[in-house]
């Protein structure tokens, strides 16, 4: 750092001294800079120094081998498992199976419909950022609630006069995304209604809501899936064939609603009763109070939990594997059992799925942190 040359104090013609401020000294190296950071964080005590060295040694022995497996001796060219001969990772496997992993068996000619739905999903989720503020409140909620149905219409195709693609062909990671977003979007308002019901004074509404919430929260999602796929069909009248994917979507939505209801309940409890009294005093009805005064505050308070629950639900979509729906994880497993790909590529397959999931969940938490910071008008001192 160069310091500006500061003229030394001079004397005015009349004899008075003129003082020139001196530039601040740089902070000592023991407090800022790389060296200080190293000392404070890695070598602050003999024990910490030892731990740092041991960890560095571990990383040093681990990273070269990992990099070698991942990149240097990995195989990427070729179309069959014969292309993978050495010790490195076999990315050929992922390359060949990438389309089913992402899109399932959706027909090639209609893949644009999946892409369109994905773009739509992105557009709807990001709409608060690009819609003019005046329209946001009304249009946004409509857009969100309409999205699942728009996506179904586009993917199914019959209503639009496009080629019909039955749900047997839907799959891959796009299916995880659609199912998660569709059930989160519908589960949130439903959960809010349940939470209201649980706080209601009407005994009937309250007990129904308590039973629903406790049932869907108390039963593992795996058991719910089994119920949706194995038990429900037995209760339908003969000949009605409700699509398996639809059944699972309903189950996921109800599961989400059960969790969200409890998240909202926590939010409700954080609202001081003065808020209710004040809105009663200015003559707002129950629904006006709830929707205009309470709900915005509840959402603000519960934001971290809402996002955590959404991430959890997104990850839960991999459970679809156990009921034979070809989402990304079961597509990977199916690929591993193909007799042309029996060479043991499970590490590559699971790593790929894990990385995809990690990227998605991590970006979700980034967005969550941003929203929280934006909403933060908090009571923190």
């Amino acid at each position: 750092m160069s310091h500006p040359v500061v003229p030394s104090d001079t004397t005015t013609p009349t004899g008075g001294r003129i003082f020139h401020p001196k530039a601040a000294e740089p902070a000592p190296v023991t407090v800022v800079g790389k060296q200080a950071w190293l000392k404070n964080n890695l070598f602050s005590s003999p024990l910490n120094s030892a731990i740092t060295l041991v960890l560095l040694a571990l990383l040093g022995s681990f990273i070269p081998a990992l990099a070698d497996w991942l990149f240097i001796s990995a195989h990427i060219s070729g179309q069959t498992q014969d292309a993978c001969t050495g010790d490195g990772a076999c990315w050929v496997f992922i390359k060949v199976w990438i389309q089913p992993l992402m899109y399932g068996n959706y027909p090639d000619a209609s893949l644009w419909r999946v892409n369109l739905s994905l773009i739509l999903l992105g557009a709807v989720l990001s709409s608060p950022y690009w819609l003019p503020p005046k329209l946001r409140n009304k249009v946004d909620i409509m857009l969100l609630l309409a999205f699942p149905f728009m996506a179904i219409i586009i993917l199914d195709g019959r209503l639009l006069g496009l080629e019909y693609v039955s749900t047997a062909y839907w799959g891959g990671f796009s299916l995880n995304l659609f199912l998660a977003s569709a059930s989160i979007i519908l589960g949130m308002p439903l959960g809010f209604l349940w939470a209201l019901g649980r706080r209601s004074n009407m005994p009937m509404a309250r007990s129904i809501c308590v039973v629903l919430i406790e049932f869907f929260r108390g039963v593992p999602v795996l058991a719910l899936f089994f119920m949706g796929s194995v038990m429900l069909p037995l209760f339908f009248p003969e000949g009605t064939n409700v699509d398996k994917l639809l059944r699972v979507w309903i189950v996921l939505t109800l599961f989400m609603a059960g969790y969200m209801a409890e998240v909202y309940r926590g939010g409700f409890q954080a609202i001081p009763s003065g808020q209710y009294e004040a809105s009663a005093a200015i003559g707002l009805s129950y629904w006006q109070t709830t929707l205009l005064v309470i709900l915005p505050q509840v959402i603000k308070v519960s934001m971290p939990n809402i996002l955590a629950t959404s991430v959890m639900l997104f990850k839960n979509t991999t459970f679809l594997m156990i009921i034979g729906i070809f989402e990304i994880l079961s597509t990977a497993q199916n690929a591993l059992t193909n007799s042309n790909w029996l060479g043991g590529f499970s590490t590559e397959a699971y790593l790929f799925v894990a990385v995809i999931y990690w990227i998605c969940c991590f970006s979700m938490s980034m967005v969550a942190t941003r929203i929280e910071r934006k909403l933060d008008t908090s009571h923190k001192s």
């Binding site: 060949v96 199976w97 389309q99 089913p100 399932g104 068996n105 047997a168 062909y169 058991a223 089994f226 119920m227 796929s229 194995v230 038990m231 069909p233 037995l234 209760f235 339908f236 003969e238 000949g239 064939n241 398996k244 156990i322 009921i323 034979g324 070809f326 079961s330 497993q333 199916n334 690929a335 591993l336 059992t337 193909n338 007799s339 042309n340 029996l342 060479g343 043991g344 499970s346």
Partner: protein, 337 residues
């Protein structure tokens, strides 16, 4: 608990629905496709390739039925089912038939309201050993360390067999078949036991497949076959005889390439199978060409076997028990006449 509730519910609903269900054959003909429950992924039996095309020895049974009923082996809707879902899907009418490596046992046949329409693959528990061990029979395995997948009937069969023969073993259990294989590969055990069809699939995944061999003995009976709902005899007959036609075609030396020639000029038996003479088709409620369609579009049993699990596939499973009865196996079709 859930299982008991499901069972009870199953029983209740079955009681109600048994009477209502008849005429799967008409349903299939009206719909124009066979809805067939298959496995979500089992090498050589039912597997989906990267283009979404299904293949396998179980899948070919579905295709044979579609060829017999609809004249087109591609008119199949595959419904991938897990082991837990498979019977409900059949009972509730979600699928017309199940062709999903399902072992034919008394309990399943009698108490689930199902009928097994035959056997398309005789499986059984076998052993894989490293060639360097120099073992040629299960009886040399006294004191061996055995790699095994936890929680399967395989574990029980193994214990029974070794006790019955007065031999000792150490079980090393793993959770998944992948882990079992790496356990075997890293030398934690001398032997790996599983169903034979699985052993061949596991063997390919070894770094050096040629270093291991599958022992010839089989210590349990696992006859796998297609399943239909009880109480719909017309459909049961169609599935049963479609499978029989595959096997009979091999016995009569009719292949997919020779079928059209033999239909005109073959032996009386061949001509009868292929529908040139006789009225087998109309008795089943099908086209006279039903078996011809099966053989010309799907092939005979030998072609199906070799293409999916045998010498024409990466699995290279020997015919063994699944050879024709006059060639050392037990594959036998009742006469089609």
């Amino acid at each position: 608990m859930l299982k008991q509730v499901t069972m009870a519910a199953t029983g209740l609903v079955l009681g109600l629905s048994m009477t209502a269900q008849a005429g799967t054959l008409e349903d299939v003909q009206k719909r124009g496709s066979v809805s067939c429950g298959v496995s979500t992924g089992l090498a050589g039996f039912s597997q989906k390739d990267e283009k979404g095309k299904w293949s396998g020895i179980d899948v070919d049974v579905c295709r044979a039925v579609a060829a017999a009923v609809l004249g087109d082996s591609d008119k199949v809707q595959y419904k991938p089912l897990t082991a837990k879902e498979r019977f409900t899907a059949l009972q509730s009418g979600e699928v017309d038939m199940l062709s999903r490596n399902t072992t034919w046992t008394l309990t399943r046949d009698v108490s689930l309201g199902l009928n097994f329409a035959g056997v398309n693959y005789y499986d059984g528990q076998g052993f894989m050993v490293s060639k360097s061990l120099g073992v040629s029979s299960v009886n040399d395995l006294d004191g061996a360390a055995v790699c095994i997948q936890a929680g399967t009937t395989t574990e029980l069969n193994l214990a029974d067999y070794f006790r019955a023969h007065g031999m000792k073993y150490t079980a090393i259990t793993f959770d998944t078949s992948d882990q079992t294989r790496s356990g075997f590969e890293s030398g934690r055990c001398d032997v790996l036991t599983s169903d034979q069809s699985q052993l061949y699939a596991l063997r390919i995944g070894l770094k050096k497949p040629s270093s291991a061999m599958v022992l010839p003995e089989v210590i349990s009976k696992e006859p796998l076959g297609p399943v239909v709902r009880q109480g719909d005899d017309a459909w049961f007959n169609v599935v049963k005889w479609s499978l029989a036609a595959l096997i009979e075609a091999e016995f009569l030396n009719v292949t997919s390439s020779t079928a059209s020639k033999l239909a005109k000029s073959g032996t009386p038996e061949q001509q009868r199978l292929l529908g040139n003479t006789g009225d087998a088709g109309s008795k089943l409620g099908l086209d006279a060409k039903w078996a011809y369609n099966i053989v010309s579009q799907v092939g005979n049993y030998s072609e199906v076997f070799e293409r999916n699990v045998g010498s024409g596939s990466p699995l290279k499973i020997a015919r063994g028990l699944n050879a024709q009865w006059n060639k050392g196996g037990i594959m036998y079709s009742n006469p089609i006449r």
